[in-house]
């Protein structure tokens, strides 16, 4: 008979248990923790789609081949990539597998008494002995009780332990990390985030079509938007006269919480957003919107209104496009706007200061096909002039107008615009609570010392000893206080 040597079979359950043990071991957790730190690095060195999509596009243009490979490994979306997710999901499973059993154990041990006094105290640390005079045990018990030790009294000895809150804090800390992650998940599933540019005087009504960009959480729909509205009454920006650095932005708005509610006048600043329930409205950016009117040859108004321009530098030299698709032929004004006009020999027209000291609109007029019907999305700040021809070039101050071959353009006035970011994140309060509990738990677990003190009185001799877990310092001081008290020194 031939016998084959066989490896013992683990079976499905055994195998699962083996992997579970491996995953929840401290060593694995440590490796995962270090991996997580490592995996977070590329996202800070390579431009990310979520933070800076323009830089990603740039990168694709400059390093085409490298970018394709980066993209295959989700290196432009590190924090939502499968491999990053895999690490933190494994870490959190490991964490739960570690914290749950320990919590149960700790809960059961919450009322447990310390273990019995060891037989041989002489071998323990902080050992001391002296001859007894009778009531040491009673004195020791009251001292230990007063110091909130847990005490197990037997006929000739006392075993006392203190510092259970170390483990409580430890467990609380790790549980709160799970709570933070739950908060992030809720935000991702139920949150809404969008932005809208509004010129001074305009009104924003909170529905999906009012947004310039909007993204919904995985299980959120358009119907979940609360029906508030915001009217931009006035925006005031103050700048440092020497450095042009902004010193203050204040936005005055009139808000209506829901149709029919009384309008409310409110002020928004960079660090103090508007709040509507779980939705908050933030002041994110600002610039200038020239108000222009364009008329055709017979005087019909073909375009009128404020056009937001995109700031290019600290002094708010801005570029923009005025598109008039309703005329025949179509007209486009490739424009730039400077709040404080200044002419330099090398750069041409620049802005010398971000406030409206000498505003000027500079533009070239193009006629032809604006290309708006091609279906390709276009920048609102730029005009594709490939199918157009330039017919004029000029500049205007507010109140001035220009007659050209196809009609008239009037630069009526200029008003500021603001970019409002509208965010609803119903998960953030969970994360906040998680964060606060995490700190409290951390403090308890790092600064509580777990230690035991024993005393035995037998054959006319008092013996004391102590044990500090995790080698925590300070027990020798406590021991000497204890001994001093007992010996009446």
């Amino acid at each position: 008979m031939s016998e084959q040597t066989q490896l013992p079979e683990l079976g499905a359950i055994g195998l699962a248990r083996y992997f579970w043990r491996q995953l929840t071991s401290m060593r694995t957790a440590l490796i995962l923790l270090l991996l997580l730190a490592l995996a977070a690095i590329p996202g800070s060195l390579i431009p990310q789609n979520a933070q800076n999509p323009m830089a990603v596009t740039d990168y694709f243009e400059k390093h085409r081949n490298l970018a394709i490979w980066f993209d295959r490994f989700s290196l432009f979306d590190v924090y939502s990539s499968p491999w990053f997710s895999a690490i933190y999901i494994l870490l959190f499973i490991s964490l739960i597998g570690c914290v749950l059993p320990r919590s149960v154990e700790h809960f059961q041990a919450a009322r447990a008494l310390p273990p019995k006094t060891p037989k041989n105290l002489v071998r323990m640390e902080h050992f001391q002995s002296w001859s007894a005079n009778g009531n040491e045990l009673e004195e020791a018990r009251s001292w230990l009780k007063a110091k909130r030790f847990r005490v197990l009294v037997s006929e000739d000895s006392i075993s006392a332990e203190k510092g259970y809150s170390r483990e409580t804090g430890n467990l609380l800390f790790h549980t709160s990390l799970i709570l933070i992650l739950i908060g992030v998940l809720i935000g991702g599933l139920f949150g809404v985030r969008g932005s809208a540019i509004l010129s001074q005087g305009e009104r924003f009504v909170n529905n999906a079509t009012s947004y310039d960009t909007i993204s919904f959480g995985q299980i959120t729909s358009e119907n979940s938007l609360p029906p508030f509205s915001i009217k931009v009454d006035k925006f005031v920006a103050k700048y440092n006269t020497l450095t042009s650095a902004p010193e203050d932005y204040t936005l005055y708005v009139t808000t209506v919480a829901e149709p029919g509610a009384t309008p409310k006048q409110q002020v928004v600043k960079v660090n103090s957003p508007l709040t509507f329930g779980s939705t908050r409205v933030y002041l994110q950016a600002n610039g200038y919107s020239p108000i222009v009117t364009v008329q055709d040859k017979i005087g019909n108004v073909t375009f009128q209104g404020p056009v937001p321009f995109l700031p290019q530098d600290a002094n708010l030299r801005s570029i923009g496009a005025i598109k008039v698709p309703d005329g025949d032929p179509q007209l486009g004004f490739v424009s730039s706007f400077v709040p404080t006009y200044e002419r330099t020999s090398d750069q041409g027209a620049i802005s010398a200061f971000p406030e409206l000291l000498d505003p000027k609109l500079l533009f070239s007029i193009w006629q032809g096909d604006l290309g708006l019907d091609t279906g390709v999305p276009q920048s609102v700040y730029r005009i594709d002039t490939s199918n157009m021809k330039q017919i004029a070039l000029d500049s205007l101050k507010p109140g001035e107008f220009l007659k050209f071959s196809e009609g008239t353009i009037t630069f009526e006035d200029v008003v500021p615009w603001v970019n409002l970011q509208i965010v609803s994140d119903p998960g953030k309060s969970y994360s906040l609570i998680g964060g606060i509990v995490a700190i409290l738990g951390l403090l308890a677990s790092l600064f509580t010392r777990r230690r035991r003190i024993w005393i035995r009185v037998s054959a006319g001799e008092v013996q004391v000893a102590g044990l500090a877990k995790n080698g925590a310092p300070g027990l020798e001081i406590e021991m000497s206080e204890f001994v001093a008290k007992l010996r009446g020194i």
Partner: protein, 305 residues
């Protein structure tokens, strides 16, 4: 005094602090070098074993003077930081120059505070030269005229978030210096007994414990600083976490120190491996400070350095 006067006053105070740290450095260097007594040539000819001995009695004075200079330097630096704040009419944490001088203040402060409990004067050479280099870089490369804050920084959270971050940084740096000293001495001990000048330095065990204590002490503060930053980001930028480079590196630092604490407390790493992990964690903090402020992009870089 006008804000201009305060700014000048602050600069003079910083220069004075640098002069004092220089003196402290020479004091410490002198006592480190001269406390080693070399036997004279006569004893050599007698055929005795020639051994250098350690004798700090003749350098006690230098040591005391150096420590006094450190304290005085700290006071001047404190004055410099406070008057910088007065000149700008706000807390002095608006740009990298101000972070650097406040960071040097936190670092020397952490050293002096630790000095009350542990005899760390052997670290004086390293501490004084580090403070000096930080201040020197700040005043030559990073200096910007005192100015008010941009609107995004106008918040109470600036005080809370940045002060805790700077204090954490100072203590992390100190833990790093001690971990580096550990590795250096450990290396020396594997080759034989310690050199004489190094004999008065604490035992490897003590160094190991000390750097752990510093990290364990300041880790909750760092956690708090990151969370305070998240709360502030929520009110200024509309999200509490956005993987901005600064945030990412703060997270990396946090995770690295969390790994260090776990490695020590739970897995029982001691000594060399723990010291290396501590150094790596600390360098992620430095990288965050230097790289993200100077070359990085993102929302934390509006300070104009």
């Amino acid at each position: 005094m006008s804000s201009q006067d305060w700014a000048y006053f602050s600069n003079y105070a910083i220069y004075s602090a640098m002069a004092l740290f220089t003196l402290a450095f020479f004091g410490h260097a002198y006592e480190t070098a001269w406390a080693v007594r070399t036997p004279n040539a006569a004893s050599e000819t007698e055929g005795n074993l020639v051994t250098k001995t350690f004798d700090s009695s003749r350098t006690q004075k230098a040591m005391r003077i150096a420590t006094a200079m450190m304290i005085l330097g700290f006071v001047f630096l404190l004055v410099g930081v406070v008057t910088r704040g007065l000149s700008a009419g706000r807390v002095p944490w608006g740009n990298m120059y101000e972070f650097s001088i406040t960071g040097a203040l936190a670092f020397t402060g952490a050293y002096l505070a630790a000095l009350r409990k542990y005899d760390l004067r052997w670290l004086g050479v390293l501490v004084s030269i580090s403070a000096l280099l930080t201040l020197g870089t700040a005043i030559t490369l990073l200096y910007v005229p005192s100015a008010p804050l941009v609107p995004a920084l106008k918040s109470t959270w600036l005080v809370i978030h940045v002060s805790t971050a700077i204090i954490s940084g100072g203590v992390f740096l100190l833990a790093n210096v001690i971990a580096a000293a550990y590795l250096y001495l450990d290396n020396m001990e594997t080759k034989g007994p310690r050199k004489v000048w190094a004999q008065r330095l604490p035992s490897l065990d003590d160094l190991d414990q000390l750097s752990y204590r510093l990290v364990a002490f300041v880790f909750p503060l760092w956690t708090f600083s990151v969370i305070a930053g998240a709360i502030w980001a929520e009110s200024a930028w509309g999200r509490y976490w956005g993987w901005d480079p600064k945030e990412t590196w703060a997270f990396i630092t946090w995770v690295a120190y969390a790994a260090y604490l776990h490695a020590r407390v739970t897995v029982g790493w001691r000594g060399r491996r723990a010291a290396w992990l501590c150094l790596i964690a600390g360098s992620t903090f430095l990288f965050n400070y230097v790289y993200v402020n100077v070359w990085g992009t993102g929302k934390h870089t509006y300070s104009g350095l």
